[in-house]
Amino acid sequence: MWLWFSKLGSPKWFYELSGRWLPWLVAAMFAFLFVGVVWALLFVPQDYQQGLTNRIFYVHVPVASISLAFFPLMAIAGTITLVWKMKLADIVVKTAAPLGAWFTAFALASGSIWGIDTWGTWWIWDGRLTSLLFQFFLLIGVVSLRSALEDSDAAAKACALLSIVGCINVVVIKYSVDWWNTLHQPGTDFVLSSNKANGPDIWVPLVLMIGAVYLFFAVSMIMSTRNEILERERRSQWVEELVDNL
């Protein structure tokens, strides 16, 4: 277990392993995305109340749900950085922050578009929207904190700590719609029965889109992590050999 753990921290080992996984993940992502998009945009029945607008649900929900995964991921990697000083963990904290900001921005934008058509407004300062906007600024904060500190060791520690702190906000985002009254609707309880609201005709394509977006998250995380590994290990022998063999 500990051997596996320390092996995982080796950038070279991760670079080789992820290189083998990547084509499969990309293929699976496109498969999920194709079936999911076609199903969600062309075949999902129109909502009784929101009509076609409801189809943005299939973009907004997967993107928003994955945007909540960034801080927990960064906090785990940050804790490993602080306690075990594992090289790869800090690389994950660094690459996740800007990606997380993009995903959060996309969740906010898709939510706004849904909002203007159903609620009648682009934006409202309710608990859910405000806490998600706060997450966006926190992620921008993690990115700028790293570039503001010249000492890379100090930057790694500061970013790790901010990532752990940012996790609290994820809990607030998640439960905002239950703790306070908001314009945003609460989470949906999906059901197996096909003759009730939120049945399989609604959630099966959602599961496909969630699969596609999560795979996209994995692919983009792995690709930018590999980039950062090459950048940081550029003076090591295995990277030089890799470049020579190109």
Binding site: Y48, Q49, W119, G120, I124, W125, I164, W180, L183, I202
Partner: protein, 153 residues
């Protein structure tokens, strides 16, 4: 685990736990301010002053909607099925607006107890279904409209 690592882990855990508690207490103290709107029952209970800019959330009461013939003016009541507030609005209603729909209105109460709204927003619930499913459920005698929103108000 080596002692210095255990110590660092303890420090990280301490920071995380104390910050969560601080955040939790702050949010608990602020919860009144974080709520987006007042309910008609809160308004009836005198929590709102005349002329104060506020939001009220509720359902459009069945049978309460009236529109003027010559102006944009509409009148309706927002209800939480315990109390209700009469609302007057001059403007364009959101597409989802109908009787029985959840709404949030912005504006102020005048001295006659009438809420003069400057903006009306529609609130939709978290239940998604096709017209076919809705028709089938209603044929079976199930109320499909805003079930959870009802529980919320």
């Amino acid at each position: 685990m080596k002692p210095h690592r255990r110590k660092r882990l303890a420090v990280v855990a301490f920071i995380a736990v104390s910050l969560s508690m601080a955040t939790g207490l702050t949010l608990f103290a602020l919860s009144q301010n974080i709520d987006l709107f007042y309910t008609p029952t809160q308004v009836a209970g005198g929590e709102v002053n005349i002329g104060q800019q506020i939001r009220i959330g509720g359902m459009v009461k069945e049978g309460s909607y009236e529109s003027a013939n010559d102006t944009m003016r509409v009148m309706f009541s927002a209800t939480d099925y315990v109390n209700e507030v009469p609302i007057q609005f001059d403007g364009i209603l959101p597409d989802l607006f109908r009787e029985g729909q959840g709404i949030v209105v912005e504006g102020a109460i005048d001295s006659n107890g009438l809420f003069v709204a400057s903006r009306v927003l529609a609130k939709h619930d978290e239940n998604y279904m096709s017209n076919e499913v809705k028709a089938a459920m209603e044929a079976a005698g199930v109320n499909t409209e805003n079930q959870s929103a009802l529980a919320e108000y």
